[in-house]
């Protein structure tokens, strides 16, 4: 029987059509997505990979809440001009702990994958408060309320717990100290500060991000997050150096 003849029969069976659609539509996703979880080469090894501190995670959530991803990508492609403009191209491992990823699809503003420590904290605070104070032709919205809004930290432990449930290796100790660690990271002179570096590593940035150590704002969190972008691991710099050496 010809294909069209067969189809003529299928058209008279509602359930058959339903099952046909489900089967035919499932194949593509299964072939392309399932292997990504099992094939080892999908994500590189990076033993030095750090976790987001509670403050950085809170900042990341503000980044999501405000929709920054709608205008900024965090994915430097393997193209010469992008590497020249933004730095080494992004590796899969760098967003290994990003639930969800924030690669973005539109660059109304520049890529932010390696913006960490490119500008000073003061620059970021001024820029977020009103972008046109530092970049006169910018079209980015002003986020004036960040400086005035106190950061909610009492539930950060729950956030870390949920992160652990989806596979980020936060420890019991990190979860228990989440709120205090958030406070201490932007208050480097406090007695709690040592705990943060003990738990999250010496490379953790400990600063009063918005310039006011005793008052923890959403601005602190967002700037802490921006300053860690691209700095969770050195893997990308190494892989570029290796490629260079190999030539």
């Amino acid at each position: 029987m010809s294909f069209f003849g067969l189809h003529y029969r299928l058209e008279s069976k509602a359930i058959g059509l339903t099952l046909g659609i489900i089967v035919v539509a499932s194949i593509g996703g299964l072939v392309e997505i399932a292997p990504l979880f099992t094939i080892h080469q999908t994500v590189e090894d990076a033993p030095d990979m750090r976790l987001y501190t509670p403050l950085e995670l809170a900042g990341r959530n503000i980044y999501i809440r405000e929709g920054c991803y709608a205008c900024h990508s965090q994915m430097i492609r393997t193209l010469r001009d992008e590497v020249d403009r933004y730095g080494p191209y992004s590796l899969a491992v760098e967003s290994k702990y990003d639930h969800p990823m924030l690669w973005g699809s539109k660059r109304t503003g520049p890529d932010l994958a390696r913006v960490g420590e490119k500008y000073s904290d003061q620059w970021h605070v001024a820029h977020l408060n009103n972008p046109r104070d530092v970049v006169p032709v910018s079209v980015m919205p002003a986020y004036g309320w960040l400086l005035m809004t106190e950061l909610r930290i009492d539930d950060l432990g729950l956030h870390l717990k949920a992160q652990r449930a989806v596979g980020v290796p936060y420890t019991e100790e990190m979860i228990a100290n989440a709120a205090l660690d958030a406070y201490a990271q932007s208050n480097p002179d406090s007695s709690l500060a040592d705990g943060v570096t003990k738990r999250y590593g010496k490379a953790t940035t400990m600063r009063a991000f918005d310039g006011r150590p005793s008052y923890l704002t959403e601005m602190d969190a967002l700037v802490a997050y921006l300053q860690v972008l691209g700095r969770l691991t050195d893997a990308a710099h190494k892989s570029v150096a290796q490629a260079g050496a190999g030539q």
Binding site: Y8, I21, I64, A70, M75, R77, A92, W103, V139
Partner: protein, 551 residues
């Protein structure tokens, strides 16, 4: 409308609304420290208001059995009105954010109106609010007529329409409060997603039951497409939204996927939201309303089969073209590109079907703006898919990705195809549904057509220009081997195009308002009742005449 429900149906409706109100109350309780509490209040109110609405007519006399001799179209009517409301809102917000890129301080300093929060309000309002309501309205309309079977009961379709709109409302109000998952086109948080699953399962059952009881031996083409839309959107939605909430009282959740696997899952979802929401469903619309309006059978039944299975199979492989040159393994990128190119065949089979069906009826297209909406939609569908396949080629994508070229492509599809086929189909159905001889004002339909076409052309050309200029500036080098332009230089170059886009969008918005007014007046102003046979199940509607294939 409630008088149409039987007493038992009224009771069911009250029980369901009460269950919704209880859910709302629970959300208020557990989410009192979180923005979720506000959503709880919204849900609670929705449940209570519905109970009151039903209560008002609870003691109205029971409907006569005569109703069973007619199709049940009230839910479609309401969904069409809601579609037009969402259209006006969504287009207005779209134009607002377009102006924000011209004059960034149009946020007035408050959090909810900044670009990042309003942009998903725009996309959700137009895609899910406008497009979704139009799909629900037309699918139920077409389903009954092509199956010659009435909807199974009179409560579940209402649950679908109102439940779906509650979903849309929770979504957009959530973004403005900062509740979002950040996944494009899947922004709503976990409880809103769960609610959509419930609504969608009911939608599927509402669709399946008349199909199973149909009096026509064959399932008409439109229904295949609507079916694919319902089924595949369910699969996509459930998989991509898997997440763990911070707690039951937190709106915030963390996606089950991360990094590269999340990117692939997201764009498998994202591209197929394009395929099965913005394409398959609207093709279903086209395959019914075009032949009915033109009074001519679809040109080729075989082309519609090839198109259907091609789209259902190929599209699901194409998502990775959103991730060219990224950290996604290259073999997946290559597969995505290959299938995107093959996708052109089934896409053009349907675009060709539109134009070849109209071939020989050009005089009708010239005189009838409604039919012209559908024709232009077919042309833009052909153009957008050609452009899409082109942009999926890796080297082309290296230029177009991240730029306004993508935005131009999106809106060629969204304005030119999705919105045009929808307006055309709505202008065709409204007189049929409300039993009018024609629209209140055919002149206004004509005006809407030209506003929409001019708006689309201006928008798309502005974005093509701006996208290509920006892409080229990003990769231009000096003689000394350094980058020639800073990022800010490109921003300055975009400015005139952003003004043009916002003006084009304004024309499109005005057109939408004209359309909404015209539809409203058609409903309000009664005309001499023309007794249309179209709402009675009878053999004349399918099987012979316009819906039979020409072959």
């Amino acid at each position: 409308m409630i008088a149409q429900l039987t007493l038992i149906e009224r009771q069911y409706a009250i029980m369901i609304s009460a269950a919704v109100a209880v859910c709302g109350a629970l959300m208020i309780l557990v989410g009192r420290d979180d923005a979720m509490g506000i959503h709880g209040a919204l849900v609670f109110l929705a449940g209570i208001l519905t109970i009151f609405r039903i209560g008002e007519s609870y003691f109205a006399p029971a409907p006569s059995d005569e109703r069973l001799a007619h199709y049940y179209d009230d839910p479609s009517k309401v969904a069409i009105v809601l579609a037009m409301i969402w259209a006006v809102v969504g287009l207005a917000v779209g134009d607002w954010v377009a102006w924000q890129l011209v004059e960034p301080d149009l946020t007035f300093g408050v959090a909810w109106s900044s670009f990042g929060r309003l942009r998903p309000v725009h996309t959700t309002s137009v895609i899910f609010g406008f497009g979704g309501n139009a799909l629900i309205a037309t699918s139920l309309y077409v389903l009954q007529r092509t199956s010659r079977a009435r909807l199974p009961d009179q409560v579940s379709p209402w649950f679908v329409v109102y439940g779906y709109n509650l979903f849309c409302l929770l979504a957009v109000t959530g973004y403005m409060m900062g509740i979002t998952q950040s996944k494009e086109y899947a922004e709503p948080e976990w409880y809103t997603d769960l609610w959509l699953v419930v609504v969608w399962v009911v939608y599927f059952l509402v669709y399946l039951r008349p199909l199973a009881r149909r009096k026509e031996p064959h399932i008409y083409v439109s229904n295949w497409y609507y079916m694919a839309f319902i089924l595949v959107v369910a699969i996509l939605h459930i998989v991509n939204n898997l997440a763990v909430p911070v707690s039951l009282g937190h709106a915030k959740s963390y996606s089950a996927f991360s990094g590269v696997q999340d990117a692939m899952t997201q764009w498998w979802y994202g591209h197929n939201a394009v395929a099965f929401f913005l394409t398959a469903g609207f093709l279903g619309m086209m395959y019914y309303f075009l032949p009915m309006r033109a009074g001519r059978p679809i040109f080729s039944y075989r082309m519609s089969i090839i198109s259907f299975w091609g789209i259902t199979f190929f599209y699901m492989w194409a998502g990775s073209h959103h991730l060219h040159y990224t950290a996604l393994p290259q073999w997946v990128q290559t597969l995505g590109m290959t299938f995107s190119l093959m996708l052109l065949i089934p896409s053009w089979a349907s675009a060709g079907n539109v134009l070849l069906t109209l071939n020989g009826a050009w005089d009708k297209v010239r005189d009838d703006a409604t039919l012209r909406f559908m024709m232009v939609a077919g042309v833009f569908y052909g153009l957008t898919t050609l452009e899409g396949s082109f942009m999926a080629i890796r080297s082309v994508n290296s230029l177009s990705h991240y730029t306004d070229w993508t935005i131009g492509h999106v809106h060629a599809g969204a304005l030119g195809w999705v919105a045009m086929i929808t307006f055309g189909s709505i202008y065709a159905t409204v007189p049929w549904l409300w039993k009018r001889e024609q629209m209140y004002s055919p002149k206004l339909v004509e005006a809407h057509f030209w506003l929409a076409l001019a708006g689309t052309v201006i928008y798309v050309f502005a974005m093509w220009n701006s996208g290509i200029v920006q892409g080229l500036m990003w990769r231009t080098y000096n003689e000394s081997g350094t980058l020639a332009f800073s990022f800010i230089d490109t921003l300055v170059a975009m400015h005139p195009y952003y003004i043009a886009r916002a003006v084009g969008g304004l024309l499109f918005l005005i057109g939408g308002c004209v359309g909404a007014y015209n539809i409203w007046m058609t409903i309000k102003v009664p005309s001499a009742v023309t007794d249309l046979a179209a709402d009675v199940p009878q053999p004349a509607v399918v099987g012979s005449g316009a819906l039979r294939a020409a072959e």
